[in-house]
């Protein structure tokens, strides 16, 4: 069986952790700073007041004047999602996180461990916890599992047997299909509103009218193809963050801070001489929200300059002043991934210096060896020009 765990509105739930009192009031996730003015997920109270996720901000406020807007916390949501996936992995499931709030896993390998399908699914829900209102659908195919999860209530599991699949999918709405908004309207105009109606049409006619996307949607409406779920490789947990004494909006300062973070993260012993394949840059904003960008390097590298140059342009995309900057080495290569020089230039000096620093640390304790990182060299206030960042390895 393939199981699909969903957490609708995960971004809002993650953002509401900072202001839990809003959870019971009409509230919605505010639009992205530079995107279209469309609200994100909404609370149950907002939904009861007529506000729908994806509504235009003006329309939502007109519908519910007391609607509170919650600042998006993209980095917080990703971190929370990572914790959830990690909890599932800890419970023995090999998880494929398809998107934020949607993860698939196969139950076959763990059914014997937990004494059957239902206990295994209950174990998965318990691993996630009750805080997130997770639900699970299980079926023989991925799309059917997603559809089953979409009808499950919070904390509930819905299992669909293969022979019940057509009847189960038939009354479900088309919005479950991964189609562009215009396509739904086109299908609705043709009188097709349910998965069963689409599945009943001839495949060739659907492909001719709606193209390859339509053909794929038609295939999904009939249950989708039987493909196995491949669990992800857990990401590397190497990161460094820097909290500023006061909010920083100046790009030059941020670039300097980034350079310090790259050095710190690369120096972490957990990296174990592996090269970096994928990095994520996250920031906590002064406004209370957060920002996050991931980047896959053209080729794996452990060269701080190269990583810094690749990441620096992303700093220009920051929507506002930053109180904390964080760098995560998301994916690392295998330790033997690169051919290095036999004898690196200056290696002996560096090793002697490292030995000396290790000696100092051993005698005076952690945090006694620091690097000076310039953050605002032009400042008229001398102590604002540079920071002392502990260098533990």
């Amino acid at each position: 069986m393939i199981a699909c765990l969903t957490i609708p509105g995960l971004e809002l739930k993650a953002a509401l952790r900072r202001t839990p009192s809003l959870a019971l009031r009409p509230a919605a996730l505010a639009p992205e700073p530079q995107g279209e003015p469309l609200i994100g997920p909404v609370t149950a109270a907002a939904e009861a007041a007529g506000v729908q996720p994806g509504m235009r901000l003006g329309e939502a406020l007109a519908t519910c004047p007391s609607l509170a807007l919650v600042e998006p916390d993209a980095a917080g949501a990703e971190l929370a999602w990572e914790e959830i996936v990690h909890a599932l992995e800890d419970a023995g499931f090999s998880v494929d996180p398809a998107s934020l709030g949607v993860a698939y896993f196969e139950t076959r390998g763990v059914e014997r461990l937990y004494g059957g399908l239902e206990p295994a699914l209950r174990r998965a829900l318990a691993a996630v916890g009750t805080e997130w209102d997770a639900r699970i659908g299980a079926a023989g195919r991925r799309f059917a599992a997603l559809a089953a999860a979409s009808v499950a209530r919070p904390g509930q599991t819905v299992v669909v047997a293969d022979d019940e699949l057509p009847q189960f999918l038939a009354p479900l709405p088309l919005t479950l299909l991964p189609l562009e908004r215009g396509r739904y309207e086109e299908l609705e105009a043709l009188g097709v509103r349910k998965l069963g109606q689409l599945a009943g049409l001839p495949g060739g006619a659907v492909a001719e009218r709606l193209g390859p996307d339509g053909r794929r949607a038609w295939g999904l409406a009939r249950g989708g193809t039987a493909a196995r779920v491949r669990g992800r490789r857990p990401p590397a947990a190497v990161a460094a963050s820097l909290e500023f004494p006061e909010a920083v909006g100046n790009e030059l300062t941020l670039r300097r801070a980034l350079a310090g973070l790259v050095e710190t993260a690369l120096a972490r012993p957990e990296r174990r001489d592996r090269f970096v394949r994928k990095v994520a840059l996250a920031a906590r904003l002064e406004s209370g929200g957060s920002w996050r960008r991931t980047l896959t390097l053209r080729e794996p590298s452990a060269d701080p300059d190269r990583i810094r140059v690749a990441l620096s342009p992303r700093l220009a995309e920051l929507p506002g002043p930053v109180v904390e900057l964080r760098l995560e080495l998301v994916e690392l290569t295998e330790p033997t991934g690169h051919q290095l020089e036999l004898l690196a230039a200056g290696a002996e000096d560096r090793s002697r210096l490292r030995d000396g620093l290790r000696q100092v640390r051993a005698s005076t304790g952690s945090g006694s060896v620091c690097t000076v990182v310039e953050v605002a060299p032009w400042s008229r206030v001398p102590e604002s020009r540079a920071l002392l960042v502990p260098k533990d390895e």
Partner: protein, 96 residues
């Protein structure tokens, strides 16, 4: 006056602290009626080499209003002290 903030690791890293470089240190300064230092940490001032003011961040709640003096002590040592208008105290500072 030393601002300390946290630098945290993602996994397994113990709490680490970032400190400001060249943070001011409280000093005991005797000054005359004009506010010019006569004694710094019980050592007499031989000469005031320079004096300047720094007014910054007045648009924030932590405005900086300082009167700096670069002085030569009788021992021959050069040092920089300032009077902090916000806290009403004297401090020495390197790198000013």
């Amino acid at each position: 006056m030393v601002a300390r903030s946290r630098i945290a690791g993602f996994a397994g890293a113990e709490g680490r602290v970032v400190a400001r470089f060249n943070a001011p240190r409280a000093a005991r300064v005797e000054a005359n009626a004009n506010g010019t230092p006569l004694e710094v940490n019980h050592r007499a001032v031989a000469l005031v080499r320079e004096e300047w003011r720094v007014v910054d961040r007045w648009w924030t709640e932590e405005s900086v209003v300082r009167r700096y003096f670069e002085v030569v002590l009788e021992s021959g040592e050069n040092t920089v002290v300032f009077y902090d208008g916000a806290s009403g105290g004297w401090y020495t500072q390197k790198g000013a």
